[in-house]
Symmetry: C2
Subunit: 355 residues, 2 copies
């Protein structure tokens, strides 16, 4: 009957122990072993001990596929990262997020599935993939407002957590840095240093976070009773080149500029080059504050004051949220306590010589 026994060539049969073998060894039934392995309380002390002993002796590790098939869950979550982001966000952004996620998963049986989506073809492959019901939840890194993925996941009834919101009233669960407060603090810092004509270089304004940083900038000016002159706002796109162009624009429009809050370090690097080319000293003539506290900030000349946001912690919190949502999964309908599903993490100003 055991026609199977020896699987085709190469098939690792070696014989990892099965539940049944553990049960035999411990002198109990399959159900009981399953209960012990899964930490059910409905097992007596002695039985539990006997089973645990058998598990140890045999070196039993549950077969994930079998479990997934029987229980209709996968014990895996996917981290979806748009390729673009993996490239140019704050330099260590990607690895920091991953490290945070990994840390949060560490005490779990969950495994992390990584997906980089570049083009649209890959995007639809992913959609197909997720539709195949192969993960218990999804972490979505920096989705853009027009991305169809979140909607799809909602329809498939798969738990999602976003890093960053797509808008002020993001309906999905999310974890975000306090961009407004971070920007406000940075600008307040410039004001406290006596700067009065403070410009800003923004990120892509259809990214909600970029919008928030601009808002924070404005709030700080208003709070200080300064003029929030629109001529002081130069929109850019998070790239170094964009930062260059915006800085030139700003300098042309407002020669008396004495400080700039730049919405990313990379753009700040571009801006700094322009200042040097135009013979403005930093921080003498123009003070500079960046955002992200990325690797380049402390290597700039002079080292760049920047706003740090806790990327690794974001990864951790996203994962916590997701795991909770997976565990909770109400009988459907009950969407859960909304306050539990949105987390704002504080930022921190890292003062250096540029301001």
């Amino acid at each position: 009957m055991v026609t199977h026994g020896i699987r085709g060539p190469g098939g690792r049969s070696g014989g990892r122990p099965t539940l049944e073998e553990v049960a035999a060894r411990a002198g109990v039934g399959r159900g009981t072993v399953s209960r012990v392995v899964n930490g059910s309380p409905r097992v007596s002390q002695e039985t539990r001990a006997a089973v645990e002993a058998a598990v140890d002796e045999l070196g039993y590790v549950p077969n994930r596929a079998a479990r997934a098939l029987a229980a209709n869950r996968t014990d895996a979550i996917a981290l979806v990262v748009p390729e673009v982001e993996s490239r140019f966000f704050a330099e260590p952004y990607f690895s920091d997020i991953v490290r945070g996620v990994g840390a949060a998963l560490d005490s779990t049986e969950m495994q992390l599935l990584l997906t980089i989506v570049g083009n649209d073809r890959e995007r639809s492959r992913l959609a197909r993939y997720l539709a195949g019901n192969r993960v218990d939840g999804v972490l979505l890194v920096s989705v853009h407002a027009d991305d169809p993925l979140p909607e799809l996941l909602v329809q498939l009834d798969i738990p999602v957590v976003l890093s960053g919101r797509r808008s002020a009233d993001e309906p999905l669960a999310w974890v975000d840095a306090d961009n407004v407060a971070g920007a406000r603090g940075a600008v307040a810092h410039l004001i406290s240093r006596g700067r009065r004509t403070i410009g800003t270089i923004t990120g892509l304004l259809d990214v909600y976070g970029a919008q928030c940083r601009l808002d924070g900038y404005r709030q700080a000016l208003v709070e200080a009773g300064l003029d929030a002159d629109e001529g002081l706002v130069a929109p850019a796109d998070f790239t170094e080149e964009g930062g260059r162009r915006a800085m030139e624009e700003l300098l042309d429009r407002r020669p008396a500029l004495d400080a700039v809050f730049v919405a990313s370090d990379v753009m700040a690097a571009g801006a700094r080059q322009v200042l040097r080319e135009r013979g403005r000293t930093v921080p003498g003539d123009v003070a500079l504050v960046g955002f992200d506290d990325s690797a380049i900030a402390h290597r700039m000349d002079p080292p760049l004051t920047s706003v740090r946001w806790p990327i690794e912690e974001m990864g951790r919190e996203m994962t916590r949220l997701l795991l909770a949502e997976i565990a909770d999964r109400r009988p459907a309908g009950a969407p859960g306590d909304d306050d539990r599903r949105r987390i704002v993490l504080p930022t921190e100003l890292v003062p250096r010589t540029s301001s």
Copy 2:
């Protein structure tokens, strides 16, 4: 009998179509659908077409867990990254590797499982995990010579590919950059620019790649008939601070130094600071060449000449190798063609102002 039907609360039952349903729809048997889905040639044209139509209409996606259970394979590979590496190798190292791996997996059904191992506890958890037979293969990024993981995988008979070798006669499959040639080219470049007293700052010499870079340095000197004076070699540890110390040492020992080949850009950044502090101009007094061509290289002042190695391509090649090994899996014993299992990728000198 269908006691199961409605799974516990929250259980997505929604009803993704199964093989059987597709079979019914196409008016064929289960086996046939399986054959079509898995691309077996032993199916007639018409039948194939009918099945494919049914698959499309129903939006059928095979259930991975069921497949894994039945076929005793997982269609997943793990990428294991030591936490340390994710932190400080050439800045975008981690994401580049991942991107390469992702690209190679793109046309496959394989999924990528990411594991960051930090401490030893996590390391043994991983061992346990892999022992549980949950992946078809493993990519190991920058293993150290004393890491027990490779051995374990060999014992478990799980295919492995390393990025970088642990020694000259690495028995496992690997993909590595041509560190020797890269270093030799860098130093030859310095010589061609008229430099004669060329020092080097090495990485941790128990890392094989660091050793190779040192060898390349020596070869270039010998080829040019220059003196390979050991006083010109300053060992460091891949950190910026290590680079600083090594540079100071070098300057103290050989004041006439007119060039330095540094085995990583990060160390070069440290070295550059020391040169500035000591009033040596770059490249006027001392020419500098780094290694990795990381993000900081082109941002240094002056921009740093560096040796680029194709990280993303390494990820791709590792994956190719691993997939091939998984597909091949001889009836055991036959270890396969060794030349197929080791790949050396060329490096490229990126000249900038520092040399």
